[in-house]
């Protein structure tokens, strides 16, 4: 499965405190339909030449719903016209703040095969919201309106919760807030990633993140059937206890040849952060095939990382199979080099050793099948 992160627009109607997209890409470019047409031509070309592959198109931003339902209808037409024989191997996901989601998107999303939407929420005031003041009341009301439409039309949804310094004040209250809002607990707890000094007030350390997760884990473990889908708990349970490795792009060590970010002008890179930092750039789809982009020699440095780390910084670590050194972009942000482990490895290791294993009574044995 190849994931295309389609940054169809860099414009956003929110000004989230911890987001880099709007901060770095003030222009708010959107992808012209001619570029989207090129994307679809490249997707079709790739799928024809790789009959085993499938494409997951993740509509990302910015806020992709700013493009409006007409844009998605145009995408649907392009897909039908340009990928007539391959469209059964194309799936769509959307990452949206939901504030613009209304009835006008319902039919076209259904036709694109979208059954669930990814979103994000923060109960902390003024973390998410439009304008300089980050009007969280307006954001939250828009979010709830979107949620009504989602529920009315039977879409599933999951959300990202960004753990910041403010989350550390009341971890359990935050956890229950999120599990009440999303009853299945379909959310990801992600540590905030801050790369500048101006926003250090919300940054957290790996150890703080481990302790935050640990505080929640005891409650989650006791009631894991009540809210089963909280991440990273679900994935670790599956990987450690059920012995079914369930790892996302950050931990799988397999993003090398399977991820590509497409910017509004058609230029490609490894992922959203790589695009923000102008690294791991693979050229424009107007000039190169998707297959070539996915085989770009520059990707080899990510593959090499998977050979170097187990012999070096990660040598002897019994959690290698669970994190593979973490996200290479995290390593780059600290060392300007990919051949290091992520600083967030310590969060994972600390959480598993200090909380997961003692609470569950199950010790992760990397050699056990």
């Amino acid at each position: 499965m190849t994931t295309i992160i389609l940054k169809a627009t860099e414009a956003c109607n929110s000004n989230c405190y911890y987001c880099d997209v709007v901060r770095k890409q003030g222009s708010g470019r959107s992808m012209p339909l001619e570029v989207l047409e090129t994307v679809y031509r490249r997707v079709d070309e790739h799928l024809r030449s790789s009959p085993e592959d499938r494409i997951s198109l993740l509509w990302h931003g910015g806020e992709p719903l700013l493009l409006g339902p007409e844009y998605f209808r145009a995408a649907l037409q392009l897909q039908r016209r340009l990928c007539a024989d391959t469209q059964s191997r194309i799936s769509h996901d959307v990452q949206t703040n939901l504030t613009l989601f209304d009835e006008s998107f319902v039919d076209v999303f259904r036709e694109l095969g979208i059954t669930a939407l990814g979103t994000s929420y923060d109960p902390e005031p003024h973390m998410r919201g439009p304008g300089r003041a980050r009007d969280s009341t307006r954001y939250n009301e828009g979010f709830m309106r979107g949620l009504r439409v989602l529920e009315r039309h039977g879409f599933a949804w999951g959300m990202i919760y960004v753990v910041t310094q403010r989350s550390l004040r009341q971890p359990l209250e935050t956890f229950h807030f999120l599990t009440n809002l999303s009853l299945e607990g379909a959310f990801n707890l992600n540590a905030v990633l801050i790369y500048d000094q101006q926003r250090k007030d919300v940054a957290i350390t790996a150890e703080q993140f481990a302790d935050f997760l640990g505080t929640l884990f005891e409650v989650w473990w006791k009631h894991r059937d009540r809210f089963p889908a909280v991440e990273p708990f679900r994935a670790l349970r599956e990987s450690i206890i059920d012995r079914r490795l369930s790892l996302g792009c950050v931990d799988s060590g397999q993003c090398t040849y399977h991820h590509v970010n497409v910017a509004p002008d058609g230029s490609t890179s490894q992922c959203g952060r790589a695009a923000d930092w102008n690294i791991l750039s693979y050229g424009n789809l107007a000039d190169r095939s998707l297959t070539d982009v996915l085989r770009d020699p520059e990707r080899e440095q990510l593959e090499r990382r998977q050979q170097v780390l187990p012999q070096g910084e990660c040598a002897g670590c019994r959690f290698w199979k669970l994190c593979h050194g973490g996200c290479p972009l995290d390593a780059y942000s600290q060392h300007r080099d990919f051949l290091h482990k992520s600083e967030w490895c310590e969060a994972k290791r600390g959480f598993i050793e200090r909380y997961f294993e003692p609470v569950t009574g199950v010790r992760f044995d990397p050699d056990q099948d």
Binding site: P123, T137, M144, L147, H176, N180, L181, L183, E184, R226
Partner: protein, 281 residues
């Protein structure tokens, strides 16, 4: 015609207007049950039940065989003399009648347990003052006790209907369920709850306007009223028991509801797990 059931007074003119509709008929006269059955038949109404606000003591309510024909929600103030009540227990436990007792009278929680142990279906009306600990004991008895008996609501409602991935609203037990039940006065005006009807706070001026209910803002706000807890980030939003109470007791001056509903949620899950394992009689 609406998919909602309508809670209506026993009023001939109104019943005539509602032909074909599903109704719950509200009355305070136990002697009118037989007449209500006849009237709803005559007007071709689907009678879901009778909401009988009798008041007084259960022991003093004259129950008769005609009650067998429909569900009766019988609201009384107290249980009354057991010696008197004992003579009617055989009949009462064989009917589709549920006895409602309020927590306003402290002994009612115990009396619900007594009645349920004798096979009478009961419901606790949770209103101030509430002894939450006593209610938690009752919930444990209701859901984890092994002897067969009458159901106790809202505990058994939750045990039957709770699904982790959905919000579970037990308001239907108390006819407070605007998604499915609307309240109508003798003028045909429609409110979202009985309390609002009594205040004259109506959303439609006539039952003839029911087809437009979905467009009424107050209706939509009520259906999605649960969202308000998250927008206000009030205490209910981060309560571990919220998914089964939905903030029903916020602002009622209640304290202790959070730990009660957290415990009740655990009990409901235990009940369902045991039922799944076939360990309940």
């Amino acid at each position: 015609m609406t998919s909602h059931a309508l809670v209506v007074p026993h009023d001939q003119d109104l019943l005539r207007r509602l032909k074909g509709q599903t109704v719950v008929v509200r009355t305070d006269d136990p002697a009118s049950v037989a007449t209500i059955l006849t009237d709803t038949d005559r007007h071709d109404l689907r009678l879901r039940g009778i909401w009988l606000k009798a008041g007084g003591a259960l022991a003093n309510v004259e129950v008769d065989e005609s009650w067998r024909r429909c569900r009766v929600a019988l609201e009384v103030d107290v249980m009354g003399s057991y010696r008197v009540l004992r003579r009617r227990l055989g009949l009462l436990s064989g009917l589709r009648t549920r006895v409602y007792l309020s927590t306003r009278e402290p002994e009612n929680v115990t009396n619900v347990r007594v009645l349920a142990s004798l096979g009478v279906a009961c419901a606790v009306v949770i209103e101030q003052p509430v002894d939450w600990d006593a209610l938690a004991d009752l919930a444990t008895y209701a859901l984890l006790g092994l002897r067969s008996r009458g159901s106790i609501e809202p505990m058994h409602y939750l045990a039957r209907n709770y699904v982790a991935r959905h919000r579970t609203d037990f308001g239907a037990i108390y006819f407070d369920d605007p998604k499915n039940l609307l309240h109508v006065d003798d003028q045909g005006r429609v409110a979202l709850s009985h309390r609002e009807l009594l205040r004259g706070d109506v959303v439609l001026q006539s039952v003839d306007e029911l087809s437009g209910l979905e467009c009424v803002e107050a209706y939509q706000e009520r259906i999605y009223g649960w969202q308000r807890h998250f927008l206000d980030a009030d205490a209910c939003a981060c309560c571990p028991g919220w998914r089964i109470c939905l903030g029903r007791y916020l602002g009622s001056g209640s304290s202790g509801c959070a730990s009660f509903f957290e415990e009740l949620l655990d009990l409901v899950e235990q009940y369902q797990a045991r039922r799944g394992q076939g360990r309940l009689g």
